[in-house]
Each structure stands twice: as structure tokens, then as C-alpha cells.
Subunit: 349 residues, 2 copies
């Protein structure tokens, strides 16, 4: 999107001005190839300074990107906490340490999500006042800013109080990332009326209904939202436990894949029958719709609550998706999203 | 689908042979008009005997359908348990009583889901051995039988043991309704590996992994499934708590509405550009795909675990959807799905 028209000499200065994004080159379904390709794209297109972290012998052609050697890799299906503790020279651990040590501004991984969380938590620590970090995922809304859902998987079991912290952090994040002055915050549950939900959600609602936190955060609490409201633009931030959030995210991603694939095939069939180039013309109209709703392509998740910007991409991310996530990581670090999150939760500390 | 080629004299005999489906004529966003229209369609198209339950003065032209008078209505947003207790002459309560008293074979409501559950539970009672009834919803799978997810909302908080009961009931239901000899049963969670999930799910997994129940039910336990597997055909029955199930169901329904609407508009735009009748030709190819994935149109939910066949349709159901759900209710009653569910759980009694 950006970058192509930039003045390269000015950009070179900007690049050298700031610490790089530490990119876990070994994490992802198609790592390191696709990750390195994405990192090179981010460097060339967006002039983001990059620190590739991984095994130099396996990275291939990295162009002029900086490399931090790490000999080990946390497998996609490995136990996160165990791996991070044992594999001290793994790419994700070294990447988090680079942020801790001031060598990098932020970290991006498309690898084992749990390992990225554990590395961020164990190496960078929690922001004061935060009980548990949470994964924030932006969901697309038509003709509007995305709705951020959190927690999307960091905490399968939640205490009601944590949802208030998620609301605070999510508000700061949505305002910072999507320029929403006064975010509307809802709680994901199973009925529109107050008092609907499971026991944890009901207790969380009672806390969220207290006006204090929303006043402090300059947010509006809009109460219950249902699954059908997720992409309807009724709230800017929606909080839930990490189990519900992850099941919901994966369900929507899975349905998107199956449904969009079926649609594409039907358009091809219909286009062949209609003749001329109609399939291609229709496909061209569909492409932005598909792109808009493809969460895997558009929305890198951010771990909120640790003392370092930590972005998490889908394991199946393309090079372009990786590059976009790197750009987001760089932007979040440059514009000090952590400072905003700290302010939002400091009352708790 | 069926009905049009039937021998009407034979059908008339069949019709008179069996008790009618009690249809809650006052329940639904467009009740009673659309419900009455659906009931008439089911009677004409599928020769299902019908007992319309509602206020005779408000039902309009019911043709030659039988009517059971009920003066009250449970509103869509009313408190279910309170309403069912207080509104003793409401259509849903009278419909459930008709089943209890042998006047009807089954009940169908597109009204307040909680009220339909409460009426079924309070008027018909639980099957022996069932702790809690659960809502079973079929999810579409391409080129295969649907996957049944339960619980989709009856029990926001679940005990691990209940998920084993859901698995037993779901197995009987999937075998009976979709002719799946040996259903594959999975548990909805947030990781593929054993031991992933929240505390309740982990405890449920430990119980589900015991081979006894699956042997007794002639089922195969396939372990963890994730949200993305819901419509991928990896399991025939998936169990979860009612909070997660309801959020997932509503999320997918909401996304379907938004996404399919955007696609239709894009196809129209593309078709206009391509000229000729290409939009219409492509739309014709898309129609069966849209229909297939439109859970609101295709899948009536069934409440499993009460002593009476209880079908629940979406409040926004069309007359055709209502008619299809009535046909399913009739079929489930005629073929004694309750007997199969009783067998599946009797070991618990």
C-alpha cells in the first residue's frame, strides 16, 4: 500500500533511526522461506528495519537484512511453556530477548502461538496491573473500522476481573491502532438482555457495568453482544474468555475457507456458462470482498499486556501477510502503544 | 422435495394414522402469518397432520388444519422460565401439553427458544438418565451428512459428565436422523493435542476417552476438534457447553448473512459489467451454495433429552423453513428417535 512513492533517502534515515522488528524467521507453516520473503518485502516496500532471527544456514537469501543467529526451533505443535523453557536458543526466545535487550522494537512470529505468548511473557514480563496478557484479533466490519475481540486464546479459563482488564487494554489498543476516539466496548454472551450468559460472564458483566473503568478509559460500555454482532459494527472492542474467543475465531476462519472456496467454484461454473469473460469480471468484483473478510490475510493478532510489542500471524500466512504484520509491529512500537496500554491499566497497579 | 408425487389417497390414510405435529403458531418474528403458511405447506406438500396452537382469532385462514386454542403468547424476549410458569394458556405451553397428553406426536416452535426448552422440560420431563437436555444443531458439510453440534444454548454452564451424555444422545440422534451407522464424536476445544482446552473441557475429555460409552453407543470417539473443523466433516457429532455452542452458532449465522450479502452485491456489479445475463447465470450457480450454508434455512434444532420430540426453528424462519422443520418433527416422532435416545442413555439411569 504505502512505500512505493517514498523518497528512499529520507526513508533510509527513518530506517536507521529506530530499532528493528525482530522477526521469528523459523516460525510458520512455510518458514523460513515465506517469512524471509515477507521480511524482505516489508523492508523494501515499507522501509521497516528488520532483525531476522533464526538459523543462518537455513534462511536462504536474506538480502541485506540483519540476522540474529538462533540454532533451535519451537515446532508448531510443541508444548509452548516447556519449549520456551528448554529451547533457550530458539528463534522465538531469541527474538523476545532482542526486544528485552533493546536490540529490537517489537517481535513478529507466525509460529507456535503459545510459544510466542510464553516467550513474550517469560522474557518481557507483564505490564504492572495486568493479571494475564490477552490475544487481541481485529475482525473486519464492512465500511468501518475493525472490531477487536479479546481474548482469542491466551487464557482458556478466565476470572471475571480479567475481562475488565481486557476491556481496558482493548480500549487503548483500538484507539491507538484504529483511531477510534471513544471505543464502544461489549461483552460476548448468549443473549441481548442483561443477566444472560454463563456464570463467569455474568460476574464479569456486573464488574463491567460499573461506570468507573469506562470513564477512566474514555470508553462506552455497550453491554451484551452476541456472536452475530461480532462483525456487525455494534462495538469496537468485545471481551470474552480465551476459550470462547479462540473457538469463535477458528470457526469463522474455517467457514470462510470452505464458503469462499465454494463461491469461487460456483462463479467459475456460472462464468463458463455465461461465456465471454464474465467469470473474470465477477471474480474481480469478489476479490476485495474475499480479501476484506479473510482474517488470515488482514489481521495480525497482538498480545496485549506484556512489556514489548508482540504480534502473532497465522501459521499459513503469505509473504504479503507477514509483511503487513511487520509493518503493524513497527507502527505499534514507534507510536508507543505500550504507553497507552500502561495508562489504561495503571489504575489497577 | 417429497410429497408432490405421492399417492394422495394413501397419504390421507397415513395422515389419519398418526397424531399431528403441534405447531406453536404464535412463536416467531413473523408469527402467526408465516407459521400458519408453513404449516399449511407441510400439510399439503408432505401430508403431515397438523395441530395449530394459538389464538383462533389471530390465525387467519388456516384451511382445514386443526386448531388448539391458546390465548397467551410468550414474547420473543421474555424470561423463559417465568413465562412458562405464568402463561399457562400460552401457545408453547399448550403445544407441549398436547404432546404430553397424546394429542400430538411432537412440537415445533419458532418462538422464544428458552421458552420452548422450558415448556418441553417442565411439561414433558426429562428422559431417565439425562441430567440436562441439550440443543442439537446440524451444521452443513459439503458433499456429506451434516455435523451435529450440541449443546447450542440450553446449558451455559456445564458439568463434564453432561458432555458425555450429550455425546450419547448426539450419537443416537445423528444415527437416526442422518443414517450414520457409526458416528464419529469429537469435543470442541482450542487445540488438536490432548490436554488442550479449559478446565471443564479437559475434565470432559478424560471421561470421553474412556472407551465404554463409545462401545455402548457404537460410536468412534475422535478426540479434540477445533472451530475450523465444525464444517469440515471430521466428526458427525461435536459436543461442547451451551455457551460456546451458542456463541459459535450465532457467530457463523451472522457472518453468513454479512458475507453472502456482500457476495451477492459483488456478483450483481460484476454481472452488470460483463453484460448479457451473466449475473443471473452466476446467481443460479450460487443459489445452491447459499442455500447449503444457510443454517437458518436448512437446520431446525432439536432439543435432546426431554420426553417428547421438540423442534426449534429460527425466529426469522420462512414458511418453507417452518414446513421443513414440521416434516422433520413428524419424521422424528414417527420413527421413534426418543426410543433411540433412551437406549443410548439408559445405562446412566
Amino acid at each position: 500500500m504505502a512505500g512505493e512513492n517514498s523518497d528512499s533517502s529520507a526513508t533510509a534515515d527513518v530506517t536507521s533511526d529506530r530499532p528493528p522488528v525482530a522477526v521469528d524467521a523459523m516460525g510458520g507453516d512455510h518458514a523460513p522461506e515465506v517469512v524471509v520473503e515477507g521480511a524482505r518485502l516489508a523492508a523494501e516496500r515499507d522501509h521497516v528495519p528488520i532483525l531476522l532471527v533464526g538459523d543462518p544456514d537455513r534462511l536462504g537469501d536474506v538480502g541485506d537484512l540483519q540476522v540474529l543467529a538462533a540454532s533451535e526451533v519451537v515446532a508448531m505443535d510443541a508444548d509452548p511453556a516447556v519449549s520456551v523453557r528448554r529451547l533457550k536458543d530458539s528463534s522465538i526466545v531469541r527474538a523476545a530477548e532482542a526486544v528485552r535487550d533493546g536490540q529490537a522494537s517489537s517481535v513478529l512470529s507466525a509460529g507456535n502461538t503459545g510459544a510466542a505468548m510464553a516467550a513474550s511473557l517469560l522474557r518481557l514480563g507483564r505490564i504492572k496491573g495486568v493479571s494475564r496478557p490477552a490475544i487481541a484479533v481485529p475482525f473486519p466490519v464492512l465500511d468501518s473500522t475493525p472490531t477487536t475481540l479479546l481474548d482469542c486464546g491466551a487464557n482458556p479459563d478466565c476470572q471475571p476481573e480479567w475481562l475488565v482488564q481486557f476491556a481496558r487494554m482493548g480500549t487503548a489498543y483500538a484507539r491507538h491502532r484504529f483511531s477510534i476516539d471513544r471505543p464502544r466496548v461489549g461483552v460476548l454472551t448468549i443473549g441481548e438482555e442483561a443477566g444472560k450468559g454463563n456464570a463467569m460472564v455474568k460476574a464479569a458483566c456486573a464488574l463491567l457495568e460499573e461506570p468507573e473503568w469506562a470513564d477512566q478509559c474514555n470508553a462506552d460500555y455497550v453491554g451484551n453482544v452476541e456472536g452475530g454482532d461480532l462483525m456487525a459494527g455494534v462495538a469496537d472492542v468485545i471481551v470474552c474468555d480465551g476459550f470462547t474467543g479462540n473457538v469463535t475465531l477458528k470457526s469463522l476462519e474455517g467457514f470462510y475457507d470452505i464458503f469462499s472456496n465454494s463461491i469461487s467454484q460456483a462463479v467459475d461454473r456460472g462464468g463458463s456458462k455465461a461465456g465471454n469473460n464474465s467469470a473474470a469480471v465477477v471474480a474481480e468484483e469478489l476479490a476485495p470482498i474475499f480479501h476484506h473478510f479473510n482474517a488470515k490475510a488482514t489481521g495480525a493478532a497482538m498480545l496485549l499486556g506484556t512489556r514489548g510489542v508482540t504480534l502473532i500471524s497465522h501459521g499459513s500466512s503469505s509473504a504479503t501477510t507477514i509483511a503487513n504484520a511487520i509493518r503493524t509491529a513497527d507502527e505499534m512500537a514507534r507510536t508507543d502503544v505500550l504507553g497507552r496500554i500502561r495508562e489504561a491499566v495503571e489504575i489497577l497497579g
